[in-house]
Symmetry: C2
Subunit: 150 residues, 2 copies
DNA sequence: GTATTTGCAAACTGTTTGCCTGGGC
DNA sequence: GCCCAGGCAAACAGTTTGCAAATAC
């Protein structure tokens, strides 16, 4: 009771049971440094408890998304990625895409300038469109040095 | 010659042939100016020329993406959406997505604040990663009023 | 004329569903 | 003990691939 993760209460109050597979999936998401695919999670979960199936991973993620504990992303790879909503300093992360070689650079070293700007924009959007902004993603498209060289 | 669409030259210089299916797909994208799925495009294309197959739509989109004429998005629906890249020198536009109902709002009324900020970031990225930035896209994720209400 | 592009069908991949068993409370 | 939750296999949906025929240049 003293040191339960923040999502514990949300699971409980929703009436969902706290099962071992769910704890394992949450633990994997908590310790993950980046966005994992369902299969990534399944592989790790399977190592921890071989009886866990891929279906359970999907159903657990679906539940966690519905409860607002997990967020789902797709980055154009044809498969989804998942992360805990509670990401520390959750400014989201940005992508730099080369239009020629399709290389993607993730960068998350967000400056104060960016933080301030984003909170201003989110404020504006909230007022104008009455959206409660939870996250954002920025994509920059360009041509990397190698591709410019050729 | 005087009034070709901006992407015409890019197709030509890539060595790709200007075929009827490609023209049709581009025309659909141009007049839609929205986020169409491959199937949406296929249905429209099929109406204009019934012999066009879904495969051709996918292959055409793949080519156009590689040439930087089209951008691909995935919004967690399990299928991709496609959009013509903004004309070079254009204003760009941003997206507001409701995480519950998946409604998308495009907004392009970009403030000076935003313009200045974006040019600062692009500058930073250019210096840091040596990318020549051509375009950017911002996505904001949130919950719209209707979905918050329920 | 020749290499690229197309269209069909079949293969693949990620995700979801049906159904029965197992486990949390 | 009652049901929710899990596991397997099969179904599904979107996308990709192999190959022969059509077509741009």
């Amino acid at each position: 009771m003293k040191d339960q993760p923040w999502w514990y209460g949300r699971l409980k109050e929703s009436g969902a049971r706290l099962t071992e597979p769910r704890e394992i999936v949450l633990e994997i998401l908590r310790s993950a440094r980046e966005h994992l695919t369902a299969t990534d999670i399944y592989i790790q979960a399977h190592r921890m408890k071989p009886s866990i199936g891929l279906t359970t991973v999907y159903r657990t993620l679906e539940l966690l998304i519905k409860l607002g504990i997990v967020q789902k992303f797709e980055l154009g790879e044809g498969k989804a990625r998942f992360e805990l909503v509670d990401k520390p300093g959750g400014e989201g992360h940005h992508h730099l895409v080369c239009l020629k070689c399709r290389k993607i650079i993730d960068y998350s070293d967000i400056s104060n300038d960016e933080k301030e700007f984003l909170s201003r924009v989110e404020d504006r959007l909230k007022k104008k469109y009455d959206f409660k902004i939870l996250d954002h993603l920025m994509w920059f498209y360009g041509v990397c040095r190698e591709c410019r060289g050729s």
